[in-house]
């Protein structure tokens, strides 16, 4: 089992913790607890973070997100241990660490959350990367269960009608197999309602993120990374919407009272790429102590950016658009424009880019992106070479050298 979580002191530079943190913990704990009883009681699907889960909800699948689990393992510092299990079974160290953690769990059964439900179905979309498909393909072979892929053509240019038709047809084609596995008939009306709830939740999440435009920002991006869990893994369920409504109310309240997430917000930063899950607490403290708060991130923004396309009156077509136009499935020009917009809207003073070894679609192009942003917006940027959950790919000494130089540029 994983190491005991060491209680780290919160830095004195941080503002009061969000009360919504507690309700989030309960929400996710309940969800994971349910997982112990799900197997056998309801059809279980393992789902990728970018997949159109709304099509699964009408069939009452219990959905589990291995990427979410991977992030949890990373935060609990179990990354290296689980990755090593996969490596001992022949999976190369250069492969995505979410995948290695998941495969490591498959081989060893180790997990910090008790017991994971065995899936009846693997449901993947390659809008976030092709790696999830290679990974799920391996799982499908180990468990001998079906894999459904939502194949989202990459938007090299603009999205085309041909692409949209392809995706719409795929959604329609999935239904018979989903009915077969779940033994539940597809009800279009229920599906439309779920699409509506998902849209609401994502838009509410978008409003949550917008509160961080305030000076001082009522939340840090590290909190936001944690609060991402419901929109990723409980999207389409009423509980996710309710959670964000509560969080939004709390944040609006803070903004009204001028309560900041950090005590002395001098600098506002943006984070690019997925979090470095095992350094969340440390980085939160490190930056807060310097009066630096991360007020926006491309990662958190991803679950609200395109969900606005969702439309209950045209559920299939709107889903195709919403899922195809996510940041990682669009060309790098789109990404540059998105980042420039966020930097301007959130009044960002500096950019921290995490070059994540595991995540090629996010990381390939960052070096040019950095150069262009520095040139066009004249803000200091820094690249940290690390990984999302495999701490063996992270060198504290090397990262600190770069960060210290970044701090000097920002402050000087």
């Amino acid at each position: 089992m994983g190491k005991k979580r060491r209680l780290r002191k919160e830095s004195a530079s941080l503002g009061p913790p969000l009360t919504s943190n507690r309700s989030l913990k309960e929400l996710m704990a309940t969800h994971y607890l349910l997982s112990r009883y799900a197997q056998g009681a309801m059809p279980v699907a393992w789902v990728t973070s970018g997949a159109p889960v709304e099509i699964l909800r009408p069939f009452d699948f219990y959905t589990f997100y291995p990427e979410n689990h991977g992030a949890l393992c990373g935060a609990q510092k179990m990354g290296p241990e689980l990755c090593a299990e996969a490596e001992e079974h022949g999976y190369h160290q250069d492969l995505c660490s979410y995948a290695r953690i998941d495969l490591g769990h498959y081989f060893s059964g180790k997990t910090p959350v008790g017991r994971l439900p065995k899936p009846d179905l693997l449901f993947a979309a390659n809008n976030i990367c092709q790696t999830v498909v290679y990974w799920y393909k391996a799982l499908a072979e180990y468990w001998k269960i079906p894999l459904i892929l939502f194949d989202t053509p990459y938007n090299f240019g603009e999205i085309s009608e041909v692409d949209i038709s392809y995706m719409v047809r795929q959604l329609e084609e999935m239904i018979p197999l989903l009915e077969q596995i779940s033994k539940i008939r597809f009800r279009y009306k229920r599906f439309r309602k779920i699409v509506g709830i998902a849209r609401e939740a994502s838009l509410t999440w978008g409003e949550v993120l917008s509160t961080m435009k305030a000076r001082p920002s009522p939340m840090t991006i590290f909190d936001a990374f944690i609060h991402l869990a419901p929109i990723v893994s409980l999207r389409g369920l009423p509980a996710a919407l309710e959670h964000y409504q509560g969080l939004l109310a709390e944040l609006k309240d803070r903004v009204a009272q001028g309560v900041g997430a950090i005590k002395n917000e001098r600098w506002r930063l943006m984070w690019d790429n997925i979090a470095i899950w095992y350094k969340m607490r440390d980085f939160s403290n490190l930056f807060a102590e310097r009066g630096m708060n991360f007020v926006t991130a491309t990662y958190t923004n991803a679950w609200t950016e395109t969900i606005g396309y969702l439309d209950e009156t045209k559920p299939f077509e709107s889903m195709a658009k919403a899922y195809s136009l996510v940041i990682l499935n669009n060309n790098l020009d789109h990404r540059l424009q998105l980042m420039e917009r966020l930097i301007q809207e959130f009044q960002v003073d500096g950019l921290v880019i995490h070059s994540a070894r595991s995540c090629k679609p996010y990381s390939v192009g960052q070096y040019d992106l950095r150069r262009l942003i520095t040139e066009r917006l004249q803000i200091p940027t820094v690249v940290i070479e690390a990984d999302i959950t495999d701490s063996r790919a992270y060198s504290e000494e090397q990262a600190m050298v770069r960060l210290e130089a970044f701090f000097e540029t920002l402050e000087g």
């Binding site: 090593a84 490596e87 001992e88 079974h89 022949g90 160290q93 063996r392 790919a393 060198s395 000494e397 090397q398």
Partner: protein, 262 residues
């Protein structure tokens, strides 16, 4: 009486072993490879002859192995060190199925079949982590000799945690620990753990069959061997002179080959 020779030219050291017709070891030597493989091979072979008390002409067939095997004009046959370690180790310990060789520049795990034949193997030759070089670099940082490391590791009550995947990372971690006056034995144990983790990962990938033996220079480090035994949950056999296993295997190949030729 006919004798057979085996010469193992490694990146750091060169060994030579002389066996008789009954496969008994008559003599051996270990020298530094230095800058010239051919000279090192000659030197090692010459010293082995002296140790065996025989003349050059008494040796009818010579096998060469190791990194520098192509530079041994003396040799009648060359065989890779993988096959030689397998054959040599099997000869010394007939019940083994797994050979772990941690040399100066690479480490190998070999799965050995009944007659000493290689069934499977894996090598770590891309980077220093998990090799003797790793310990050498660290030894010089800590100002201890390689020989002392084993004993110091065994005496440590606790161990420092050190990266096992990258020598450059590990080195900077050691520098930090030294700067904080962290006890030397604990750092050394941490290093032994790092190298053990790296190599035991390779072992698990190949699979443990039968009994296990370690050869190569690092097998002399009791600290590493003890930790490896812990990790694998099995006792590890180590020959009194673990560095010569490869050369012994080469000599055994030489003896076999000459029989075949006749």
């Amino acid at each position: 009486m006919n004798y057979f020779g085996g010469i193992d030219v490694g990146a750091i050291s060169t060994e030579a072993v002389i066996i008789d017709e009954g496969d008994e070891i008559s003599g051996y030597s270990i020298v530094e490879t230095g800058a010239n493989s051919t000279d090192a091979a000659d030197e090692a072979f010459g010293k082995a002859l002296l140790a065996a008390g025989i003349h050059r002409d008494a040796v009818s067939f010579i096998g060469a192995t190791g990194y520098g095997r192509v530079s041994v004009p003396l040799a009648n046959k060359t065989v890779t060190e993988i096959s030689c370690h397998a054959l040599g180790a099997k000869y010394l310990f007939p019940d083994i199925g797994t050979v772990i060789d941690i040399g100066g520049q690479d480490s190998k795990v070999i799965c050995v079949g009944d007659s000493g034949k290689v069934l499977d193997f894996t090598m770590n030759d891309k980077c220093a982590a998990g090799t003797g070089r790793f310990l050498e670099v660290m030894a010089s940082k800590l100002r201890v000799s390689l020989e002392e490391m084993g004993g110091l590791s065994l005496h440590a009550k606790a161990e420092a945690h050190i990266s096992s995947v990258c020598t450059v990372f590990a080195e900077s971690e050691v520098v930090s620990l030294v700067a904080k006056n962290h006890p030397k034995e604990e750092i050394i144990k941490g290093l032994s753990r790092a190298i053990t983790n790296r190599v035991s990962g390779m072992v698990k990938a190949v699979g443990v069959y039968g009994e296990v033996t370690m050869s190569g220079g690092v097998a002399k480090n009791r600290g590493v061997v003890t930790l490896m035994e812990e990790q694998l949950g099995k006792p590890i056999r180590v020959y009194t002179e673990p560095q010569i296993v490869g050369a012994l295997g080469a000599a055994l190949f030489a003896r076999r080959q000459s029989r075949a030729v006749k």
